[in-house]
Point group: C2
Chain length 313, copies 2
């Protein structure tokens, strides 16, 4: 976990990857570029701009290298891309990303369904990717996102010991950080606290982001629980776009707008400007006019005379 003051969090915007890959229609490159710029202009300083997967597999992600090229021109932005394997990692490193994100499923069933590999095979991918990074671009970060960490639509319960085993194995294989993802939207706040506490006990400050879904309405409550456990990086998606296409019935990333509002209202600094964040919905909607956008704060508007961390005595 990157060291950050108590009252600062990093919102990692995953919409351009996790959101767009869940939408059957492809957003035109020009619209994507405008959207990423708008997210940056709102103050977001980590964006997962796409994934390096075969275009035949996810045509929505065919222009990820272009996204990276553009995003790396924006000062102070950490440009992430998801890579499912070493081939994707090679392409991502060549494109110039700052950080690689690797999905590793804690659920054996989900691992096979999502990346067609066993968990043990994925650990070897992590090892190969970490080695590649060491040779090609030692400054690039490698973050593992442990998906289905809180349960799985295919196998149901995922033993916590297996989640911890996987996190340790990934660290041992050379990853820099491991976060926990509620791919299926099964997590509850007590479980979130328990798992992140264990994760920190196991891998210390290499414990990474909380990636929560809002499938059953608990997204923000789970983020709050993770925050109270010391997590300071949170994945979210503008307009709640996306989810996981391979976990049936599990849609709904945490909405960036509502998450930022929660933290800012609490007086926790996100660095994000809420009106500009709402404005970033415009290029998203322009590029995907038929896609529903979620988010209650943009709809309701900010509270009257809202000042961040206000509502004090």
């Amino acid at each position: 976990m990157p060291i950050s003051p108590e009252n600062h969090v990093l919102i990692s915007e995953v919409g351009p990857r996790d959101g767009l890959q869940s939408v059957p229609r492809t957003m035109a490159t020009a619209h994507k570029l405008r959207w990423i710029t708008a997210l940056y202009d709102a103050g977001l300083r980590e964006i997962e701009v796409g994934s390096f997967v075969p275009a035949s597999y996810l045509p929505q992600m065919a222009d990820t290298a272009e996204m990276v090229k553009h995003a790396t021109t924006l000062p102070g932005l950490t440009v992430m891309a998801l890579v499912p394997n070493r081939r994707g990692a090679q392409r991502a490193l060549e494109a110039g990303v700052h950080k690689l994100s690797l999905p590793v499923s804690a659920s054996a069933a989900h691992s096979l369904a999502n990346v067609r590999k066993t968990r043990e095979e994925m650990i070897e991918e992590v090892r190969a990717i970490a080695a590649l990074r060491r040779h090609l671009a030692p400054d690039v970060g490698v973050e593992v996102g442990i998906s289905t960490a809180f349960g799985c639509t295919l196998q149901g319960h995922v033993p916590e010991d297996e989640v911890m085993w996987l996190a340790e194995q990934c660290m041992e294989a050379g990853a820099d950080e491991a976060g926990l993802s509620d791919t299926a939207g099964y997590a509850n706040p007590a479980q979130v606290r328990r798992l992140f506490r264990r994760l920190r006990a196991e891998i210390g400050n290499k414990a990474g982001a909380a990636h929560m879904h809002n499938t059953r309405g608990l997204g923000l409550a789970n983020c709050l629980a993770a925050y109270e456990e010391g997590v300071r990086t949170f994945d979210a998606s503008l307009g709640g776009l996306g989810g996981c296409p391979y976990a049936p019935g599990a849609s709904g990333n945490v909405v960036t707008e509502d998450l930022v509002f929660m933290f800012e209202a609490m007086g926790v600094n996100t660095g994000v400007d809420l009106p500009r964040l709402f404005a970033a919905r415009v290029p998203l909607h322009a590029g995907l006019p038929d896609e529903p956008l979620y988010g209650m704060t943009p709809e309701a508007g900010l509270p009257k005379n809202f000042v961040r961390g206000s509502q004090h005595a």
Copy 2:
């Protein structure tokens, strides 16, 4: 706050009052009765069945006495009704309610808009109602709900000192409990923790329910914060029906289904059976077919192999 074990909470269903009074159409009496029975059958043991206000003012609430008559036949159910003044309290006590709920606004502007009285005048109503209760039905509870406790759409910020002053005044006037209501949907978890902590410091175990709205998506996060501060009674509305008709733009009670799911998943006992709770949406929908029902858990379904308090290691 009623004494309850650490892992038990009371979900107080307010849909038949707070929900229905926000809907312009009137739900037929027979449908309402079936809905209340279904809520009871799901395990809910406190229901606000209506309000005693002039029928000319809120025709949706004209049959509240009939609701009380029916609900008081259900064993173990605490039957509440909202009363805005002593005349309403007289009718409620005659009808046989177990508990009176009095809305008292912390915001001076909202008080005038909502009940056409100043806060000081409302404290006198509380005093008169508590006296009436003492004479007519000493076993009946009197709970004040301090509305706009976290901010107000009319005046914006509501000073926390005024909220505490009001709570103390209501206790001094003879109320049994005072809870805090986020009428405008402005609350954030840090504020919820701060205010309930102060409330308990001021009035001890007379601190009552958390009544949260989901207007900006923070409803469950705020309930979690209140729970962690020791609150054990939570208002919620099936299908998220309702809000406050006099706070423009402020709609959206916390959804009972999602709240119960959160607590049950955490291993906190609500006494409510989730599939039966989802089934209670049927008579609600039958009685108000055009009204949208919210709730993500009923839509997504329960997690695979869900067991309450499960997802343990």
